[in-house]
Structure formats: C-alpha cells, structure tokens
C-alpha cells in the first residue's frame, strides 16, 4: 500500500526512490500522503518535489499542513509559494496561523497580493468573505455574447473561475449572473442581459459561510456571487470551497455529537496528548454530570436493598434509554444541519417522537418482560417492562427536543445531542425505574 511503500523509502532514506514515488502520483494523492506524516517528514518530502509541481501540491494541502511545510522552507522558496497562492487560500492559511508566521507571510508579498489578502482577512471569521475569491471577471451590462467572451479572454487568466460570470452595472452592482456555457452556445450578437438568470441567489460577504455553502449545494450552483452591503460584487464563492466547508462542518458536528472537541488536523497526525485534549473536557463534564445517577441511587438505596434483583437491570435500562435518546437526537441534529427541520418544528417533532418512543417502548417491553421473567421473577419483569416503555418515550422526546431548543437559543445543536441527552436520560430514567418499582412491588 502507498503508505507502506513510502514508509520503507523513508526508513531507508532512499531519496531517489522518494522522488520517483512523488513524481508518479497525482498532486492530490501527494498532498494526502503528506498530511498523514509528521511535520518534519512532510517538509522533507515537499522539498523533494519538482519545482513545477510544488505549487499544485501545496494548494491541495490543508492550511495546517501548509503552515508546517512553509515553516521548513527558506525565504525565497517561502515567498515564491506564498505569492503564487490564490488569495482566498492565503487568507485561510493566515486566518489559522500564529502572528509571527502571518507577519512573515505578509512581509514578502507584492503590494497587490497583500492588499487582496488584507481585504479578505477584514471579514469576520467563518463568514463568506473569508472563503470567497476576489478574482472575478465582472461583465458590464449591454455587452453582446461575443463581446463578453472577449472580456473573458482578456481578463480571465487570473480568475478563480470563468464559468459563472457576474453581470454588473456601472457601479459594479450585481444585476445577475451568466454562465460561460450560455455565452459559448448562444449566437454571438445575443445581448448578455437576455442570457442572465433572473433572481440569482447571492450572498453578502458577512453572511455565515456554512449556510452559503449549503445553499449552493441545494441550488446546484458552481459559484455564488458575493456582494458587499451596497450590493457591489466583491467575489465569488466556488463549489470546491463550499464542498470543503460542508465536509468540515459535518466532521465538526459528528465530533461534537460524540462528546469530542473538533480536532482540525488529520486524524493520523494527531499526537496522543492532542487526541486526549479533544476528548477530556467532555468526559470530565459527563462524569461529573453522572454523579446525578449516584445521588439518585443513594436516594433509592433502601428500595435497592429490599429487592436486590432491581440492580441487575440498571445497565440494561440505562443503555436502552441512552440508545433511544441517541437515535432521536442524532436524527434531529442531522435534519437540522441539512435543513429538513427548523426550530419552529419543535412541538410537532416532540409529539411525533413521543409516539415513536411509545411504539418502540411497547415492542421492547415484550423483550424486557421475557428477560425479567426468565432470569428473576414476574413482578420484577413487569417493573422492567413498564420502565422500558416510559423511559423510551421520555428519551425520544428529550433526544429530539433538546437540539431544536438549543438551536433556538443560539447554541450549536450538535453540542446538546447524544452525550448530554444520554446522561440526562440516565438519571431521570433511574428515577422512573425506582418509582415504578415502588408502585409495582410495594416497597
């Protein structure tokens, strides 16, 4: 496999072999392998690349890896790479870099590139302005298709994309977009204004980047025009950046839902302490929250002492409640993320999940009854079965409602999902269990 071959070459310090290996791979494959290595090895490999491939590979690296690689280069190579970067990639690199590094980058840039970068960095973190490309080819209203194509030929060399062309008035205000496809396929004397898509989606530079990216995906756009507060075109958000934004957002959501602080780097490049640090905060919070369960059990200690068999089913009930709550929470968080559910739906969702929980609980209660009756006795079995029904319904409602309520008050729903829901359901589920036990068993 690729990594094994590379690992062998590195162990043997076979420089010629490494160069051959690098030359045979596509740029994105090289970037992928570099991302899996520790920083020093990544720099070593990068410096073995052919000069004409170095930039292409560099552009495919994550900002974190770009930083590592740049830190290992001498001034000339450093500044050549940085100058040649697209301004939006450079802004992203600097946005996540320490101050000294950022200064070194900016110091070596030409005036034009430094200005573009400073403009982009002026936008708030996480906004469209930080991800868009300012290098666009705006077309003036009143051009014909062939004049427009001439414009594209004249100015298109540096543009991030020429497939989506914003059409502007004399003050650079957005009037619509025309696609290169339409320009090419239309008769040359057709007016551009006839080819423009009416009511094109667009975003403000200060809008949230992730929402803009999901909008692009929903509307099947290759690029989204970006305007300032006076509707003047300032850039384009392209599909490749939108896709990366969505993938990063999904990875973050998934991390949060499993009680992990999102780790922005490559999984294999994380050290033991970095991984531990991304998980410890949540684990500590949850174990402290779990003290609730200890307290609940202390309150019911006499009941437990009278019917010790009740203790046998604690993990089963706590686990089932956790699973049911986790299912509901995960579905709700995902539906929120892809836009299938809105915070206003919370009552409808809670009512529906309550019925789902009852239905599921009823089916599981049969199993619970069987397990209880076979392993202990009938009264305990009834207690377990009834508890399963109530706990499942309760867990489903809490699981689905909490993410929606969280989003309503401005908290990231992924944070308030499976792990928190499970812990809450654990404690309350135990209370439900013992109250039912007291009622059924008369203790």
């Amino acid at each position: 496999m690729a990594t094994d071959v590379l690992r062998e070459l590195l162990d043997r310090n076979d420089v010629a072999g490494m160069q051959r290996w690098l030359a045979e791979r596509q740029p994105y494959e090289v970037a992928d392998e570099l991302g899996r290595q520790d920083p020093i090895t990544a720099v070593l490999l990068f410096r073995l690349l052919d000069k004409d491939r170095a930039l292409t590979v560099f552009e495919e690296l994550d900002p974190v890896d770009q930083q590592h690689v740049l830190s290992g280069l001498r001034d000339q190579a450093f500044h050549d790479l940085v100058e040649a970067m697209d301004p939006d990639d450079r802004a992203r690199l600097l946005g996540e870099a320490p101050a000294k590094f950022a200064q070194r980058v900016l110091a070596g840039l030409s005036l034009r590139e430094r200005q573009m970068t400073a403009d982009l960095l002026g936008y708030p973190e996480g906004s469209v302005g930080r991800y868009m490309s300012p290098e666009v080819v705006p077309l003036r209203q009143g051009l014909t298709a062939s004049q427009a194509l001439g414009s594209v030929r004249a100015k298109g060399a540096d543009a991030e994309t020429v497939y989506t062309l914003p059409v502007v008035d004399d003050h650079r205000r957005l009037q619509g977009v025309v696609t290169l496809r339409r320009l090419v396929l239309s008769p040359p004397d057709r007016q551009v204004t006839e080819l423009v898509t009416a009511d094109t989606p667009h975003a403000y530079a200060t809008d949230d980047a992730e929402s803009a990216a999901r909008l692009m995906q929903q509307a099947n756009l290759l690029a989204l025009p970006v305007v300032d507060s006076e509707n003047r075109v300032v850039g384009l958000l392209t599909i490749d950046d939108a896709v990366e934004l969505i993938e990063a957002a999904d990875t973050e959501d998934i991390a949060r839902q499993s009680a992990t602080t999102p780790w922005p780097g490559h999984y294999m490049a994380a050290s033991v302490t970095q991984l531990a640090r991304s998980r410890v905060v949540w684990l500590l919070l949850l174990i402290v929250a779990a003290t609730l369960t200890v307290n609940v059990l202390q309150i019911f200690e006499t009941t437990l002492a009278e019917v010790t068999a009740l203790a046998l089913f604690i993990p089963l009930l706590v686990g089932t409640g956790g699973n049911a709550g986790s299912q509901a929470a995960t579905a709700a968080v995902r539906a929120l993320a892809v836009g299938e559910v809105r915070t206003g739906d919370v009552l409808r969702v809670a009512w529906r999940e309550c019925r789902v929980g009852l239905l599921l609980g009823a089916m599981l209660a049969v199993v619970g009854l069987l397990i209880g009756a076979l392993l202990v006795d009938f009264p305990v079995a009834v207690t377990v079965a009834l508890s399963v029904v109530v706990i499942c319904s309760w867990a489903a409602v809490v699981g689905a409602a909490m993410p929606l309520l969280a989003k309503r008050i401005g908290i990231d729903p992924a944070v308030v999902s499976a792990p928190l829901v499970t812990t809450l359901v654990d404690a309350t589920g135990l209370i439900i269990y013992f109250l039912i036990a007291r009622a059924v068993l008369g203790v």
Copy 2:
C-alpha cells in the same frame, strides 16, 4: 416563516395565494417545501406551478418526492415530465421505484430516451454508471481550440456539462480531458492535445459511486470522465451528483452510528411507524445484547450483596466507558469515511488509542476517586478510580479497532461503531469493575 405561511394558505385552501407564493420562490426553495409535505399536498402544490417552472422544480426534488408527484399526474403531464428529465436523474428515479411505476415511466418514453435509461439501469446499484450522465460532448484528438469550440456549440445543447470535455481517439477511448476554460482562453489555433491535462483521474462505470464522489472532492474536479472496461468514454459524473452522493453517504453513516436503519426520505415526511421501523431493529438487538450485563451482574450478585455501595456507581462507570468508546469509534469511522485512515492502520491506531485511554482514564480517575470518597468511603473510591482507568483504556481500544476490523472483513464500519461498541464495553466493563472490587475490597 415559510412553512407557516404555506400552512395557512393550505388550511384556507387559498389557491390564488398558493400560486403567488410558488411563483415568488426559487425552484430549489419550492422543491424543499414540497419535500416537507405529505404526498397528497405535494401533488396539489406541484400542479399549481406554472408549466415552464414545473420541470425545473421537478428536477430539484428527491427521487422519493418525484415518485409521489408523478403518481398524482395524468398521463400527458406524466410523460412530458419523464421525457424531459435528464437520463441520469431518470435512472435514479426508476432505480428506487416499484415495478409497476417503472413500467409506466418506460412505456411513455421515446426510443432514444428509453435506450439511454435502460443502459444506465444496466449498471449495478451504487455504481458510478447509475449516477453518471451519458450526454457528453467528446472531442476528437487532432482538433484545434477553435474547432473544438465549434464542436461544443454544435453538440453542447443537450450535454449535462460542457465545462469538462473528454478527449477521445477514433475508437472513443479516453485520452484525457480539456476544460472549456482552457479552450476559451487559448489562441484559436492551439492544438487541443496541448491543452489536455495529463493523467486525468477517471472512473470505470462499475466502480463504487461514493468512492468516485470522494475522489472528485479530493481532486477538486467539476466532472469525472467515466469509461467502460475497454476505456471508452460512456459518461461524466458531475459535481452536483457527487455532492449529493456524499451528503447521502454521510447521512447514512450518521444514522448507522446511532443504531438507526437509514431512512431515505425527508425527516419531516416520515410517519410514526416509518421512524419506529428504522430504529426498532437495532434497539431490539441492543436490548438482547444487554442481557449480557444482566448475566454479568448475576454472576457477581454475591459481591453486590456484600458491598451494596458498588451498585451506586454502575451507571457512572457504564456511562463513562460508553462515552470513551463512542468518542474513539466515531472518530475512527469518520476518519475512514474521509480517507484519513486505512484498514492497515489498525495496530497503530489501537496502540495510540490505548495510550489516549490511559491518559484520559487517569484524569477521570481523580474525579472518580473524589466522588467515591465524598459519597461513600475510600476503599470503594479506589475501586471506582481503578475501574475508570482500565475501562477507559479498554473502551478506547475497542472503539477505534472495531470499525477498522469491520471494514477489513467487508462490513460497513458505521454499523459496528458507537452502539455496538458501547454495549460490548458495558458488559466487559462490569466484569472489570467487579474483579477489581474483589481484589481491592477482598470480597
């Protein structure tokens, strides 16, 4: 909000109001709202659309919603829509439709469209062939840039995209791709072969569609040429379909990781029984697996009876082990999905997770010691603390290793992740707890 306004219009049966509402929205917004409605309302709304917008809205719908809408149309409208669809969208619609519906669709198609659809459906489910568009503009080697543009103008009207153009030899075998950007920006007499990107990524029609989509994302491609076994160009996989593929795959993964059978439809459109059905199988499996925990506790019943305080910490330990295992499993499954980890990494990953678990366990053990000492006594606290350390390490190793081992033997890693890992760790964690208790407390 949008839905509230629409809901009111529907309740009042305000047809003119609904038509106005529909006319004011972008096609993808209309499609989004239709997807949130039940099938009958969706058909009603669809039939209120202007004829010229109907197709655009229809193309934005999910295959499930497309089926609902079509089922509510009369023959003429039905066949007009179906004939106008892109062949890849039609193949996707039919792939998930019942046989009678599929027959009705195929019966009304023109010969050319029926042939294209039959070709696409001939590919295995989940393969690139089912998602690609066969409507491409291949360019013959030996053309100049301006001749190539002429070709695009002549044949490009029906093509799915003209931005990525496959270059072929006399036998239609793929030689490379050229982008429309390069054609437009180059001097007219430049040979196309000089503009071709060497070693372009491509896929076989029988390759896995999700892998091809992730490849496109990694390599920043707008379209991926697809070839048959003899390297002849048969279609292009475009970025919009790739992005949908990835979103669907991620949603499936997320569902499986929370013990849910993936539900392909819109979250809000699912009925109570449909939601329950997507969750019950796993819940039943897990509650049956949880019987293990009951058995384990029965084995140690005497120990429990001697030191009843041990029962107080069962939910806390089981919960902490579940959280630690779930963190590791979720990170591993996500890293596998985005290609940052490969199955061959399992030993490296397991060793790293073991150390992470020890480190986390040590930190949590301090908290466990405090809780135990404050609420019960010191010997029990030591038992809890030691158990936390061992359980965390064990959970982290199991959590990360199981998905990788599953993938190695061909099982979807998302299926063997958090829910299964948690249940396994519950039972083994209890064994660890009681063995430590016997050693420390001398029971």
